[in-house]
């Protein structure tokens, strides 16, 4: 007989549900254990210094790494949102508090065109909006997205406190570097303010001849012996000196192992990028010109007072000898108002004529390269040679070692036929050539610096040194451009109070 349900049911204890159930027992105990684990972990997070590492959304970048473990409060004010896009983070008092936390104790940053910006606009900018932290040790905090710049620059008129000048680059609406989004050509390259008459084309020819036929080309043995060592490895089979870029343009920072990249005929192969080497040192007469342009013992760079002091020490005979050498009978037109050397010497002896005024008349002396000064105390006009051409941007030569000088400075490599004026025999158009800006414009930059990532990857197939075109590749935010761009050096974008920082590090290491 088959056992029925009732019969099976009566086998079961009436209060079976009160009996021990291992599943319920295990669930309760494990849940209790989970509760303890959760509470313990939470307490450890809140109280332990190592707990901060667990809460951190990522490793801090190198400059802030000292606070990676224990320095949350250095930046995070309690219950104050640090991100501007956080809930309540856009309140002015929060932004101000957060910015004070960065700017003052550690950083000393300047504003950004404060005088030209509407009141209150810059107050809404917080440090963390652009400088995003917790993205790893190698994160470069200066790498700011273009969108942070274009928030204002795409519609610059809305934040500028004065009418937009149509010819001003800074006030053009710019979204990014691409041609389609309005970055104009570099205003700093519109003209060369320099006053020196110098022909790159002439100086890049063997022997640097002034005449097209090269008759006056210089050989190594024609320059003073003390300079020959500098050029002896640059002579050709005819003993003519072939200058290169690096003969006059020295790097501001030495890059060992990468010498000679500026050779005119070199094919750049360097793959390194050095942000240390930004610019080239200024050309110095005594180092780079004196070998050929001998002043016969007269110092270069004297002003009028210094010059007169110097000639006081000279006897009329000495002066005459100097002038004879400079002003030969072969050049009668170059003499001042047709005066004979003898008369000039007599005037000098009586100190009636200033020597500097005479020297400025001949192309064999100061006037060869300089414009006369309009200042009473100076002999020659300021050279206005620019060391840094891009006024609002930072160009780093060290990051461009993979391209040759000629790629960007093609104007300096013009052929003689373009430079020599055959109408004036034996003369270059150095004056005209000097007014040419020998730096390629933005179009050249865009050949490698490509905004669109897709296009960049496509271009990479044929050009290995394609690069990004972010605003921060060239521009810095925390420094208004100086008034005198000719004398500008390299500006540290974020000045850190290193003394405080080092003291902090020392205190962190202390037991």
């Amino acid at each position: 007989m088959q056992e029925n349900g009732s019969q099976r049911a009566v086998k079961i204890e009436r209060f079976y549900h009160q009996a021990f159930d291992r599943f319920i027992y295990r669930k309760r105990w494990m849940s209790f254990l989970g509760f303890l684990v959760g509470i313990g972990y939470s307490i450890w997070l809140l109280l332990s210094s190592n707990g901060a590492l667990q809460v951190s959304t990522g490793v801090l970048s190198q400059p802030h790494f000292a606070w990676n473990k224990t320095g949350c409060e250095k930046c995070h004010l309690p219950n104050v949102p640090i991100r501007k896009d956080a809930w309540g983070g856009d309140r002015i008092e929060h932004i101000r508090d957060n910015n004070k936390n960065c700017n003052g104790e550690c950083h000393a940053v300047t504003g950004h065109f404060e005088a030209k910006t509407k009141t209150g606009v810059l107050e809404t900018e917080s440090c963390s909006t652009c400088h995003r932290e917790h993205l790893g040790f190698d994160r470069n905090l200066v790498e700011v997205y273009d969108s942070e710049c274009s928030r204002c620059h795409a519609d610059i008129a809305s934040v500028a406190n004065h009418p937009v000048a149509p010819d001003s680059n800074a006030q053009q609406p710019i979204s990014n570097f691409s041609a389609e989004n309005g970055h104009p050509n570099f205003a700093s390259l519109k003209h060369d303010p320099g006053t020196i008459h110098f022909s790159h084309a002439q100086h890049m020819r063997p022997g640097q001849p002034k005449s097209p036929n090269g008759a006056d080309a210089k050989k190594l043995d024609m320059i003073p012996e003390k300079f020959r060592g500098l050029y002896q490895d640059r002579v050709d089979a005819n003993q003519l000196i072939q200058l290169t870029c690096s003969n006059c343009h020295a790097r501001d920072v030495e890059l060992k192992g990468y010498e000679g990249l500026e050779l005119a005929d070199s094919t750049p192969t360097a793959s390194i990028q050095s942000t240390d080497h930004m610019l080239y040192k200024p050309v110095e007469f005594d180092k780079h010109c004196a070998a050929c342009h001998d002043l016969d013992g007269l110092a270069h760079g004297l002003d009028r007072k210094q010059m007169n002091e110097a000639i006081k020490e000279l006897t009329p005979r000495k002066i005459l000898e100097y002038l004879k050498k400079r002003f030969t009978e072969a050049e009668p037109d170059s003499l001042v108002e047709g005066k004979m050397l003898k008369e000039i010497a007599e005037e000098i002896d009586g100190r009636k004529t200033r020597l500097d005024a005479i020297l400025m008349q001949s192309e064999k002396t100061c006037a060869k390269c300089h414009e006369p000064s309009k200042e009473p105390n100076a002999i020659v006009a300021p050279s206005h040679l620019k060391r840094k051409w891009l006024r609002d941007a930072s160009f780093t030569h060290g990051a461009h070692l993979m391209v040759s000088c000629k790629d960007c400075h093609a104007e300096a490599y013009k052929s003689p036929s373009e430079v020599y004026d055959n109408a004036i025999a034996g003369n270059t158009k150095s004056k005209e050539e000097s007014s040419i800006v020998m730096i390629a414009g933005i179009t050249k930059c865009r050949e490698c610096h490509i905004q669109d990532a897709h296009l960049r990857s496509q271009k990479f197939a044929t050009l290995k040194h394609v690069a990004t075109a972010d605003c921060v590749d060239c521009h810095r935010y925390h420094s208004d451009p100086p008034k005198n761009s000719a004398s500008v050096g390299i500006v540290d974008p974020v000045a850190v109070n290193l003394g405080d920082f080092q003291r902090f590090l020392a205190s962190e290491k202390a037991p």
């Binding site: 019969q7 099976r8 086998k11 159930d21 669930k27 849940s31 939470s42 809460v55």
Partner: protein
């Protein structure tokens, strides 16, 4: 029943993703948990997790009939599933630091264990219903197995007399039985048949189970010795394996453990073959008795399968619940820390 919760869950996810993306686009920033939509979406996810955890206290308050359990469970499943995507949207599609990663991993574990439990609870009960007809309450398996052994002993005792001397000692089951019955004549329709009355007579069944025996069959002593012998050495140790019982001098679960794996009836196929041999070695009069012993053994095999199935069916809850508790506690810490360091 499910549709409403599914629509609500999908709507929340879609709305959250759209809002976060729209806000991110407007602000021209990558989405984050601290943004306005990030906080709202995170709060919704946290609220759902709190609701999920209320399943436990709800059991304590079930006498108040708050809400039908089936609807609560449907909401528990679908809204719970929505917490994963919502938390991911809240986080700005990033894992963040170790702590937030731990939270996400915990949430993922809770979700996966819940999905596993949901699937297994849909599949296994159906399988058990079809394949384990002897299924009983899992916690009562030992008790029911002892009763089955008592029934078998009673049946053999009624048929062949007490266990002969010299056979393997059986555990003491005196505490589990109060009555015994004998061979009686019972009416089956218009017929009267002889039957051995056994059953859980110690409980509420005063009638007991009737095992019919052929009229005219006589139980001989030789069969009795053979059946008692096989019962004592093979059948009962298998039926009572794993149950700590007194063998008089000492409890010997170890001995049972050792015999169980070697039992010739440890699988269904082995059992069928073994009982077939047992039938061959006894006279035909034992058929009813042997059939019933085989049925009791089959019952025990099904109880083993039931136990395994129950482990699969309920074992996950401990992990799901404990991980949920950890998640709930850490969620509070996350909220405190996020508000402090936002």
């Amino acid at each position: 029943m499910h549709l409403g919760s599914i629509v609500l869950a999908v709507a929340m996810i879609a709305a959250g993703a759209f809002w976060q993306a729209w806000h991110s686009h407007q602000a021209d920033r990558s989405p984050t948990g601290s943004s306005w939509p990030g906080i709202v979406i995170g709060s919704v996810a946290a609220g759902i997790i709190l609701f999920e955890l209320l399943l436990w206290p709800r059991k304590w308050l079930r006498r108040f009939r708050l809400f039908p359990t089936k609807y609560w469970m449907v909401a528990h499943i679908w809204l719970g599933l929505a917490t994963g995507p919502l938390a991911f949207i809240h986080s700005g599609y990033r894992l963040g630091g170790t702590f937030s990663t731990t939270l996400m991993v915990l949430l993922l574990f809770v979700l996966l264990s819940g999905i596993y439990g949901w699937v297994i609870q849909m599949v296994l009960p159906r399988w058990m219903l079809g394949n384990l007809p002897y299924e009983t309450i899992t916690g009562q398996i030992d008790d029911v197995s002892i009763q089955a052994a008592l029934n078998a002993r009673r049946m053999l005792t009624v048929a062949y007399g007490p266990k002969p001397e010299g056979l393997q000692k059986l555990p003491n089951l005196d505490g589990f039985v109060s009555d015994m019955s004998g061979v009686v004549t019972v009416r089956q329709g218009r017929q009267e048949v002889r039957a051995i009355v056994i059953g859980a007579v110690q409980r509420r069944d005063t009638k007991g189970l009737h095992i019919e025996i052929d009229s005219g069959n006589e139980f001989n002593e030789e069969d009795g010795r053979e059946l008692w012998g096989q019962y004592a050495t093979v059948i009962e140790p298998f039926m009572l394996r794993g149950i700590p019982l007194s063998y008089g001098e000492a409890t010997s679960p170890q001995a049972q453990k050792e015999t169980s794996p070697k039992s010739p009836i440890s699988t269904r196929q082995k059992m069928i073959d073994w009982f077939s041999m047992l039938r061959d070695s006894c006279s035909s009069s034992t058929r009813t008795i042997v059939n019933h012993l085989e049925k009791l053994t089959e019952q025990r095999l099904q109880y083993d399968a039931q136990r395994r199935a129950q482990s699969w069916l309920h074992g996950w809850i401990a992990f799901h619940a404990s991980a949920s508790v950890v998640l709930g506690v850490l969620l509070v810490a996350h909220i405190v820390l996020a508000l402090k360091y936002m």
